[in-house]
């Protein structure tokens, strides 16, 4: 697929396939188009050319909420939480599409469904150690907790495909370890297909069996972490980034 903003070509004919149940890491220097790739898949941007299909059906021209309904959830590189709402409510919004919407029963406080969904969020709260923060406004939580809430919100959607944009960025070493552990658990517990963006090559290779590398909107490498890291293009891209 390809995507342009005016003169900037954010993605140039990038093509990739993700198999059900696998974990794929997307690496590449800043501005290489990783976030743009996620934005295209999740419906936030429409690629200028190309196709995206999930489970045999095209996702092209679907609005983000329709993409979510197909079973794809995402997180954002620069956190997009519902800052004015408590942590628990953030997770509950993640379950929005599982609600049978009925305004009348909402106004009459018929709560059977609500309780069922809260039970599910409760499991996620426990899983991600969010218990002390559940009633705190998301905006009042520390950064590391906010990242966890965003992961939890995406999990609450019970996606089949989870797109995580830099899940470990801005975290301390210890917090990174925790994230790695949780992602590992997530795959086991929720059986979800995972695609994540990560700068830190070591972190990425611990979780993913396969990687793709982007540079300036193009896919420059694909394969196992060892294969990708050995490619001269990747080294150049990363050194260029550091210089």
């Amino acid at each position: 697929m390809s995507l342009s903003f005016g003169g900037i070509r954010a993605l140039r004919g990038v093509s990739l396939a993700v198999r059900e149940g696998e974990t794929l890491a997307v690496i590449g220097p800043n501005g290489s188009g990783k976030t743009s790739l996620f934005n295209c898949i999740s419906g936030a941007y429409q690629p200028g050319a190309g196709d995206i299909s999930f489970d045999g059906a095209s996702l092209l021209r679907l609005s983000p909420d329709r993409v979510a309904r197909r079973g794809i959830a995402r997180t954002f590189q620069n956190l997009r939480l519902f800052l004015g709402m408590p942590v628990m409510e953030n997770l509950l919004v993640g379950r929005h599409l599982h609600f049978r919407r009925n305004l009348l029963s909402a106004a009459l406080r018929l709560r059977r469904e609500e309780i069922r969904h809260r039970d599910r969020c409760e499991e996620i709260i426990e899983f991600l150690d969010l218990e002390p923060y559940r009633k705190l406004r998301a905006g009042d939580c520390p950064y590391g907790v906010q990242k966890r809430v965003e992961l939890g919100r995406a999990l609450a959607l019970e996606p089949r495909l989870l797109l995580l944009d830099e899940p470990a960025s801005g975290l301390t070493g210890e917090e990174k370890e925790e994230v790695a552990y949780w992602l590992h658990e997530v795959r086991g517990r929720f059986g979800v297909t995972l695609v994540f963006v990560e700068h830190d090559l070591r972190f990425a290779s611990r979780l993913a069996a396969r990687m793709i590398a982007l540079d300036r909107g193009e896919k420059i490498a694909e394969g196992t972490p060892e294969e990708v890291q050995r490619r001269p293009e990747v080294e150049r891209a990363y050194l260029g980034d550091a210089a």
């Binding site: 983000p64 709402m85 929005h96 609600f99 909402a106 609500e114 919100r153």
Partner: protein
């Protein structure tokens, strides 16, 4: 100690001892008011109840859904005139009809919100308010011409009881709504449109729903106001109504049901206190918004929430 013990407790209506006590006091006060033998206060109580319904609607739109709309005067007028024209029907049906006509107009006015944000949306909706006013001022078939429209007016006491009971119903429904999936969708859209969409919240539907519900409330406010006055003329609903509503939601507390009631009481009772100095009321309104923004962004409801937290944890802190 009355800390919430299990999460199921969070689902209860009005959790916490202090909240329940305050609620009981408010209900008792509303019931006692007519027996104080002060007709002026019955009138004021009625006005507060009517106004609070509209303020709650405006708060749903601005405070909860984050859509800044200045169209309130238009919805008020639509509700009032629809009610006046529907008077042949049973009262409750006419009231419902007034709300629904206004809700329909709300959906139409809501369409710009799908493209416009913040001040641009405010201006677009303000245009609607002015257009509605012009229409009523210039189409005699709607407005009853220079004579205006007569509306049947029940006795003061029965007005008081129905309007206070209606406020109770609206407050209850609003509290339920905002703690349901629908209310969370509104707030999610307010806090981050892209994240809300990515969680499966349909932006179009949610925003239009916010406009529809909010203008339903405002339409009912207009209808009850028409009934309260017993007479309608277009000059009643001018743009200054928009300012009053904004003062009410800001001073009362954004995104708060009880705040909407406090805010309504504030804008209804302040002119009473000022009495002869009526010209000073807008100045004081402006000053109070500033004071709220500086000292307590949560408004009166925010201040109460803090006090309540303190009390509920006392003596442990």
């Amino acid at each position: 100690m009355d800390l919430v013990e299990t999460w199921r407790e969070e689902l209860r209506f009005a959790p916490g001892r202090v909240t329940r006590a305050l609620l009981a006091a408010a209900v008792a006060f509303s019931i006692a008011l007519p027996f104080l033998g002060q007709p002026a206060w019955i009138v004021r109580g009625t006005l507060v109840a009517i106004t609070a319904i509209g303020v709650m609607g405006q708060n749903l739109l601005v405070g909860y859904a984050g859509q800044v709309s200045f169209g309130q005067a238009g919805f008020l007028a639509i509700g009032a005139y629809a009610f006046a024209h529907l008077q042949g029907l049973p009262w409750l049906l006419a009231l419902l009809g007034a709300g629904l006509v206004s809700a329909l107009a709300g959906v139409v006015v809501g369409f710009p919100s799908l493209r416009l944000k913040g001040p641009y949306l405010a201006i677009a909706t303000l245009g609607f308010g002015i257009a509605a006013y012009q229409l009523l001022a210039n189409v005699p078939a709607l407005s009853g011409g220079r004579m205006g429209l007569a509306v049947q007016r029940p006795s003061l006491l029965s007005l008081y009881w129905t309007d206070v009971a209606l406020l109770g119903v609206f407050a209850l429904a609003t509290t339920n709504l905002i703690s349901s999936y629908a209310g969370r969708a509104l707030m999610a859209v307010r806090d981050s449109e892209i994240a809300a969409e990515s969680m499966g919240v349909n932006l179009t539907r949610t925003k239009l729903l916010a406009f529809a519900i909010s203008s339903f409330y405002t339409g009912v406010h207009g209808a009850l106001f028409a009934q309260f006055l017993g007479h309608l003329e277009p000059e009643l609903f001018n743009v200054s109504e928009v300012l009053t509503q904004f003062v009410a939601i800001t001073v009362g507390g954004l995104a708060s049901v009880e705040g909407s009631i406090f805010g309504a009481a504030f804008v209804v009772l302040l002119p009473v206190i000022f009495g002869g100095l009526r010209w000073a009321v807008p100045v004081f309104f402006g000053a109070s918004i500033l004071a709220v923004l500086i000292f307590e962004p949560g408004g009166l409801a925010g201040a109460l929430r803090k006090a309540r937290l303190y009390l509920e944890q006392w003596p442990f802190r």
